[in-house]
């Protein structure tokens, strides 16, 4: 009967894993500092975090770099156990997927072309064009504030669009911007952090399959332990130069 099949499933973490002994992680691998390629190797905050979570679960992390749509669908189709890709929890997404407890509270930055006096705060983007990645919460936010979204595939493209005057502004995570600013020339833009009074920080969490109840629990426990033993803060400082793991 149906009752036996539903109760026998998802009892243990092991039975929920895509492949035995491994935590299969979906991510883009093209998004610094969360996950990116340095010296030919996959690295980044979420890469290290995944490894740490896997270790707590007694597993090794197996990374599957892919496109944005694919890392969502990968969890849904049971190809990945979990996806970590700066994903924001929203009520709509929670209908289809489980989310772990947040591991980062991401604040937003509003970036405009240097000298743009029209846009100084998030409310100013109403009726303006913003460049944001399709499906991202940056896009959702821009729409919420009445902007027309120019879809772009990645952060550098968005910056390029603003610089070229093809969009008036772009919204992104403070973390992504500061990483960019570390190595690149930013003199073409003005960046304004959006205060939490205007927009609360986004809860960044891992995406899991709704069926993976045991795994979700185990991941939550691992994140809690990593937070308590200071690993989370250490990684945050290493990659973001700040502790953004608490909702301040």
């Amino acid at each position: 009967g149906s009752s036996s099949s539903s109760s026998s499933k998802g009892d243990t973490v092991d039975s929920e894993l895509v492949s035995k002994g491994k935590l299969t992680v979906g991510l883009e691998g093209t998004y610094a500092p969360y996950s990116y390629r340095a010296n030919g190797k996959l690295t980044g905050f979420e890469v290290d975090l995944s490894k740490a979570i896997a270790k707590k679960l007694g597993l090794t992390a197996d990374f599957k770099p892919t496109k944005w749509d694919s890392l969502i669908q990968g969890v849904g189709s049971g190809r990945f156990d979990i996806s970590l890709n700066n994903i924001t929890e929203t009520p709509e997404r929670a209908k289809a997927y489980s989310f772990s407890t947040p591991y980062v509270y991401s604040r937003y930055v509003l970036i405009t072309k240097k000298g743009n006096k029209d846009i100084t705060k998030i409310a100013d983007i109403k009726g303006k064009k913003t460049a944001d990645a399709t499906g991202s919460d940056n896009e959702a936010l821009a729409k919420k504030f009445g902007a027309t979204v120019v879809p772009s595939q990645e952060f550098t493209t968005s910056l390029q669009l603003v610089k070229d005057g093809r969009a008036d502004a772009t919204i992104n995570a403070v973390s992504a911007w500061s990483t960019y600013a570390k190595t690149e020339d930013t003199s073409a833009w003005t960046a304004t952090e959006i205060p939490s009074s205007d927009v609360p920080a986004a809860k960044i969490a891992a995406l899991l399959n709704k069926k993976s109840t045991a795994l979700t629990k185990a991941v939550n426990k691992a994140i809690k332990e990593l937070r308590e033993d200071g690993t989370l803060t250490k990684l945050s400082k290493q990659y973001f130069n700040a502790d953004i793991t608490e909702d301040k």
């Binding site: 749509d69 969502i72 669908q73 289809a96 399709t134 879809p151």
Partner: protein, 237 residues
């Protein structure tokens, strides 16, 4: 969900299709065909001298656009040309509107493929047709215009139609240069509802409908244009 598909997802995808996918494909194909014709004519031309440079450029163009991915071509035209700053003419680089950039790139791309098709079609017309036209005193340009091209274009209908169908599907890459065409709309919905598989399948359905209609049109066009033409010359038993 089912309700949303019919009330929201499909209507908006179709809207994007009518607004971007189809107009861009149609305009690019027309421009591409004109370009293809000119390039094909340049490449089969027997003019020498300075015209050899035109021929060389034509061959290079065809090679370039056939041997690099379309996505890269789009990217370079849209994001690369702004770097091309020419003092006096383009002091700020060439910044094209995405629709314009898309149409230019798609035209250039499909033009390269179609020029090969048209060239092959012209070369497939039996030399007897050229000679018969020369014999009644026609000049090369007149022979081409009145005798060869009308026949060649008929031969070229099936492969050109295939190129057009391919182009319709390729417009999905226009998302990378900020155009919200059909495929991009499906991705936007996937970003909201986290159901990419479902959204992709919906948009695939729309592509299939468009392509099927185009295939019908193709058979119709083939039938109409080849009405009086069979293999080679008619009448020889």
């Amino acid at each position: 969900m089912v309700q949303q598909i019919f009330n929201e997802y499909l209507p908006n995808m179709i809207k994007a299709g009518l607004q971007y996918t189809i107009p861009i494909a149609v305009v690019s194909f027309i421009l591409g065909l004109i370009l293809a014709l000119l390039v094909a004519l340049a490449r089969i031309s027997q003019l020498g001298g300075a015209f050899k440079i035109v021929k060389g450029i034509s061959s290079f163009y065809v090679w370039l656009f056939r041997s690099t991915p379309l996505l890269v071509q789009l990217f370079i035209v849209y994001f690369g040309l702004p770097y091309l700053k020419i003092a006096g003419i383009f002091p700020d680089g060439i910044k094209l509107d995405p629709v314009v950039a898309g149409i230019i790139t798609f035209s250039l791309n499909t033009g390269a493929y179609c020029s090969e098709t048209i060239r092959a079609a012209i070369l497939s017309i039996p030399t007897g047709q050229w000679e018969a036209a020369f014999a009644i005193g026609m000049k090369r340009s007149l022979v081409l215009r009145r005798i060869i091209l009308p026949q060649a274009l008929r031969t070229a209908v099936p492969p050109l139609s295939n190129s057009f169908i391919g182009l319709v599907k390729d417009t999905s890459l226009a998302a990378s240069i900020t155009l919200v065409e059909m495929f991009q709309v499906s991705q936007q919905y996937a970003g909201e509802n986290y159901q990419p598989l479902m959204m992709y399948s919906l948009v695939a359905l729309l592509y299939a409908v468009i392509c099927t209609i185009l295939t019908w049109l193709q058979s119709y066009l083939e039938k109409v244009t080849s009405k009086h033409i069979t293999a080679g010359e008619g009448g020889a038993n």
